[in-house]
């Protein structure tokens, strides 16, 4: 609460300063944009804002980092309740349903139509747009920084261990892990308890549901079923590999997370976001050969598209009309192929529109060394048309559900808890979260 109170006081002060200042030379409409990215990625958002401000003289966007996705959602809620909300806010994937039911936003399509922009909504990749769209496929928010999970492996280590294949299936990953171990590599594959690659992406590409009602798209009464799908066997497989010390747990609590484990060449394989592609390329010692691939599937599986991660931009309700003109102009500006290309180049994120992707492909972006492999993320996201299980995840309190599953994995891998029993218990806990969410929004329906 302290953070949000300070923030709202701060915003209040900023607002009074803004109002109190004598209207200077140009009458620019100012509006605010809050985002969750920090560090290097946060700097790039500032660059984007500056580019927009320099590109025209009518509006001025003021961009403020809230340092983290979850704090952005919390601060947005606090600000909205205090009627001090920004015009645009960046909300991560897991907060999508909270936003959808809030009644606190202007739908993307309405905003652009009201302000006279014609947007080709089909230009967005289906796998990305569906996460943020209504059941009818109309976008509520603007996909912005999008990613998906990838499989990274150290080619030099593979060669030393005499592995001459690319790990496309989990059977091959196991084989590679055994060969790496035999060649003296202590940590063939590193993993942590992040459910995003291990549970959510795995379920999507194997066309397995996380919950009933099309992962929640068809109603708030959805129930988790992930304790009855292929995911259970997958966890058991991971457990077996971990017991044989072929897969190794690497977390912050243990002193080293998976990405540093990979870049320090402690471990030879990881699955993580394509957003880490840039960092990995920059951090691995010069000359080390490494590759990125789509996440492996089990042999005989018909691969489905993977899920989009990252965040989207929401336009909040209750701002003066003039600000919406600016917000629409800014969002339109971000959507241009040039900006899409610039954004994907300076970050590890993928372009969210087909024209953006095509422009980048055409100028040979993906053939150049540091960016090579990133096109696989698009391939993974658009591998098939989305199915009920791969459209996205629309579950209330999903942040908390993720945490419950992470805790379950912790119990399984660190404390030898029984896989099935632990997952059953967690599904029950997760369903309690869903039921409470349903009650909180009683009478509301998903659109």
């Amino acid at each position: 609460m302290r953070v949000s109170v300070t923030t709202s006081v701060f915003i209040g002060l900023m607002a009074s300063v803004a109002f109190g200042a004598p209207a200077a030379a140009a009458e620019k409409t100012k509006f605010e944009f809050w985002y969750g990215l920090s560090g290097d990625l946060g700097e790039r958002v500032q660059d984007a804002c500056k580019k927009f401000n320099d590109s025209q003289s009518e509006f001025e966007i003021v961009c403020t980092s809230q340092n983290g996705y979850d704090t952005t959602l919390q601060n947005t809620i606090a600000a909205y309740r205090a009627k001090k909300q920004p015009a645009i806010t960046q909300i991560y994937d897991a907060g999508t349903l909270d936003m959808m039911l809030s009644g606190a936003f202007v739908p993307a399509k309405k905003l652009m139509a009201d302000n006279g922009y014609t947007i080709d909504w089909n230009n967005y990749f289906g796998g990305i747009a569906n996460y943020y769209a209504t059941a009818k496929g109309e976008l509520n928010s603007f996909p912005f920084n999008s990613s998906t999970a990838m499989f990274y492996y150290n080619v030099d280590a593979f060669q030393k261990a005499g592995i001459d294949f690319k790990p496309d299936t989990w059977e091959q990953v196991e084989e590679a892990a055994r060969k790496l171990k035999a060649a003296g590599f202590e940590c063939p594959l590193a993993f942590n308890f992040d459910t995003w690659p291990l549970m959510e992406q795995f379920s999507a590409i194997h066309n397995q549901p996380l919950a009933t009602k099309a992962n929640g798209y068809n109603g708030l009464d959805a129930e988790l079923v992930v304790n009855k799908t292929k995911f259970v066997d997958h966890v058991k497989f991971f457990k077996k590999m971990a017991d044989e010390k072929l897969f190794v747990v690497k977390t912050k609590q243990l002193g080293m997370d998976i990405v540093p484990a990979f870049t320090s060449e402690t471990c030879q394989m990881i699955q993580t976001s394509v957003a880490d592609h840039g960092t990995i390329g920059k951090t691995l010692p010069e000359g080390v050969k490494w590759e990125v691939a789509m996440l492996p599937v089990w042999k005989g599986t018909e691969r489905q598209n993977s899920l989009v991660g990252g965040a989207s931009l929401w336009v909040l309700a209750g701002r003066p009309e003039a600000e919406y003109k600016g917000a629409a102009a800014f969002l339109n500006y971000l959507g241009t192929p040039e900006m899409a290309e610039w954004w994907s180049t300076v970050t590890g994120y993928i372009p969210v529109t087909k024209t953006g992707f095509d422009a980048m492909k055409a100028n040979g972006f993906y053939d150049k060394a540091p960016y090579k492999g990133r096109e696989l993320a698009i391939q993974s996201l658009s591998f098939t048309p989305t199915s009920e299980n791969t459209r996205g995840i629309r579950l209330g309190g999903f942040t908390q559900i993720r945490k419950e599953f992470a805790t379950a994995l912790e119990a399984i891998f660190m404390q030898n808890a029984d896989v099935q029993a632990e997952l059953d218990k967690t599904v029950e806990r997760g369903n309690a979260v869903l039921r409470r969410f349903e009650k909180t929004y009683a009478g509301q329906t998903l659109n």
Binding site: Q400, T407, E410, Q415, A417, K439
Partner: protein, 296 residues
Amino acid sequence: MDKRAAFRSWWLPSLFALPQIILILLFFYWPAVAVLRWAFTLEPPFGGAAEFVGLANFQEVFADPLYWNSVGISLAFALCGTLSTIFIGLVLALAVDRQLPGSAPFRFLYILPYAIAGPAAGMAFRFILSPERGLMASVNAAFPDFWNPAKYGSHALILVIVVFAWKWAGYTFIFLLAGLQSVPRSLIEAAAMDGCGPIRRAVDIQIPLLAPTLFFLLVIMMTEGFVGADTYGIVARTTDGGPNHGTDVMVYRIVEEAFRGLNYSGASAQSLVLIGLIMVFTFIQFHFIERQVHYK
């Protein structure tokens, strides 16, 4: 005797008190009223229609076995944290009070950790006591799994208590040193002449005379351990409540529930229970323990 000598009217003192009153209303009573209201309703995060649900939120809280787990963990944490901060503070204070040459800078050094924010201390200790790197790595190399707070809840609990004690021992030290210095020198000197060693003098003279200070610290540190902002910060930065709810103290659970789970109602219900618990503790401490404390 006229006690209102300074002010002849009622409005002037009221005016002086006004800023304080406004601040208290704004930052204490207003949130408290919101918590009271939310605990009995289902509050949607963005506001809007909240439905009155009576005691349902409390039922949900009490029906959750993990809630009772967090009550037990909180108790263990607050108790061990309190006792270790007071014990360390006492040992340091007795040492400095002996006025050995060169002991002056240590007063400053012992207080220093108190100035460091809990989360920062937690972050530092996560590295210092990491099982794979840091101080314990070599011990673990000789005795595998001797120390692994990422695996064993008990180790993780020890870890957060160590951080808490490290940070707060300096605080208890200040009070205990001040208390020790008000013990009449003549008593100590007389005892010394009768042949009492330093330990004997501490146990028989100094500590009994410190009883009021010790009691005060007991109440303060128990409350701090239960509801202090540091407790949340330390747990969040060191263990994240884990492994498997091993360090899931009540304040951590409340903040997580409210802000990660956006469950304002459930978190409010838990807050009310926590406030009630603190009141019961304070009552017990004043009612039963204070009787053993002699102020003269």
